[in-house]
Amino acid sequence: MNFAFWIISAVTVLGALLAVTLRNLVHCVLALILFFIGIAAHYFLLRADFLGTVQILIYVGAVAVLILFAIMLTHNVTGTEGPREVLGLKWWSGAAIAAVLAILLKKAILSDPLATLLPAGDKAQTSVAEIGKVLVAGWVVPLEAIAVLLTAALIGAVVIALEEIRKSR
C-alpha cells in the first residue's frame, strides 16, 4: 500500500519540479497536468474519491486548458522560452528563500508530535451523497457565495480578455 504512496508522491514532486524548471512552456503545462493527476491520485489514496474526480475535472479539464489558451494567446505559437536567463541574483535569492523555508518547515513538521499519527483504519468512507447532503444542509450560504464568486470570476475574466477584441475592431 505505501509503495503506491511513494510512487505517486515521486510522480507528483517530479511533475511539480518539471513544471517549474522546464524551458518550454507547453512542456511545463504538461508537467503541471502530471502534477495535478498526481495530486488526484493522492486524494484517491486518501480515500477522498469525490475530491479526486473534482480535482481532475476542474484542474486537468479546465485550468490546464485555460493555461494552454493563455500560453497560446500571449506567446508566439512555438511557445519556446526566450534565451535562458542568466541565473542572476534574483534567481539565487528566490531559490535560497525557498530552500530555507523548506528546511524550516521540515524541522517544524518533524518536531511536531502529530507527524507520527497513523491512519484511523478502514472506517466507512464518506459517500458522495453524504457530502451532498452536508453541503446543501449546513453549508448552503458558502455554496451560494462560491457560486456568486465563480460567476463574478467568469464575467471578470471575459471582460478583461474581451476588451482586446472590441478595441482591435
Binding site: L30, D49, L57, V60, G61, V65, V77
Partner: protein, 368 residues
Amino acid sequence: MWIAAFLIPIGFIFGVYLTIFAFTTLVERKALGRIQNRYGPNRVGPFGILQPMADGLKILLKEDIVPRAADKFSHFLAPVLIVVPGLLVYLVVPVAPGMVAVDLKIGVLFALAVGTVSVIALFMAGWASRNKFSLLGAMRAVAQVVSYEVPTVMAGVAVIMAAGTLSTLTIVERQGGGILNISNWYVFRPWGLVGFVLFVIGGLAESARCPFDLPEAESELIGGYHTEYSGFKFALFQMGEYLAGMAMAGVTVTLFLGGYMGPGSGPGLVGGVIAMLWFFSKLAGMIMLNIWIRGTWPRLRVDQLMGFAWKVLLPLALVNIVAIGFWHFLTPRPLAWVVTTGWLAIWVVVLTKCNAGAALEKREYRFT
C-alpha cells in the same frame, strides 16, 4: 492475486472493445456506402470482413513520419493520451449485472471527468505538429469539446438526480423493473428523453463525428490535428476517436437506455449473458445511429455549432434539471408527467423560437 482481479476486467475491456472498434470501422464504411448507394469495402475477405485487419496491417507497415520542427515529446505522447480516456470510461460502464470493471461510487462523474482529459490530448496533437492548420484544427476541436461537455454533464446531472446515486450499477438497476424491464428506462421519461437527445448530440460533438466533425473536416483543414501523423500514431488517433464515440454511446446506454436492462436480463449467469447481449445490442444500435447521422447530416458552421451548444443545449439541460426537480417532488405520477412535459415543451418552443434567427440566418456571400 489481487493483481489478477485487476487484469481480468482490463483484458475484457481491451479484447471486447478493440474488436468492436475494428468492426465498427468496417460497418461504418459499408453503411456509408449503402447510404451513398454503393457497396462498402468487400474485397478483403468475404463481404470485406477482413478489411480492418488489412487496414491495421497497412497502417503498421506505413512509415512513421515526424515533422522536423515538431515537439518530439508531445508529438509522441498525444496519440496515447487520446486513447487512454476512451478506455478509462469503460471501467465504469456496467456490461452485466455486477459486471463492471470498477464499481466506483462516483462512476458517472469519473466517466465525465475522464472525458475532459481528451481535450488536452487534442491540443497537444495539434500544437506538437507545428502546423498552422493542425493547430487551428486543434483549437477548434478543443473549443468544440469544451463547449459541448458542459451541456452533456448537465444532462447527466438530471439522471443522477433521478437515480440518486453516481454509481453506474445502481443507476442501471434503477432502470430495471417495470414492464419487461423496459418501461423504467429513463428515456421514457420526459426529462429522460430530453437528456437522451442532449447526450447523443454531446456524444457526437465530443468525438467530433458527423455534423460536428469540423476539426478534421477534409475540405477545410486537411485532417485537422492529426494531419502530421502517419503510421501507427494515425491508427491510434482513429482508435481513440472511435473509442471515445463508443464510450459516450456506452454511457448514454447506461444512463438512459437502461444499460443491460432488457426483458430477460437478470442476476444469474443466463440473465447476465442476456443482459450482456442487451447491452451490446443497444450499444450497436447507438453506433448505427451515429453512422446513420454521419451519412445523412451536413456539417455545421463553427459559429452555428458553438451557438447551438451554448444557446440551446445548455439552457435545455438546465431546464431539464428543473423538470427532474418537478418530477421528483410532485408525488402523483400523472401530475408529474403533465407538469414536466408541459414545462419542457414550453422551453423547447421558446428556445427554438429565440434561436431561430441565429441558427438559420440567410448566409450572404461577399463575392456574389
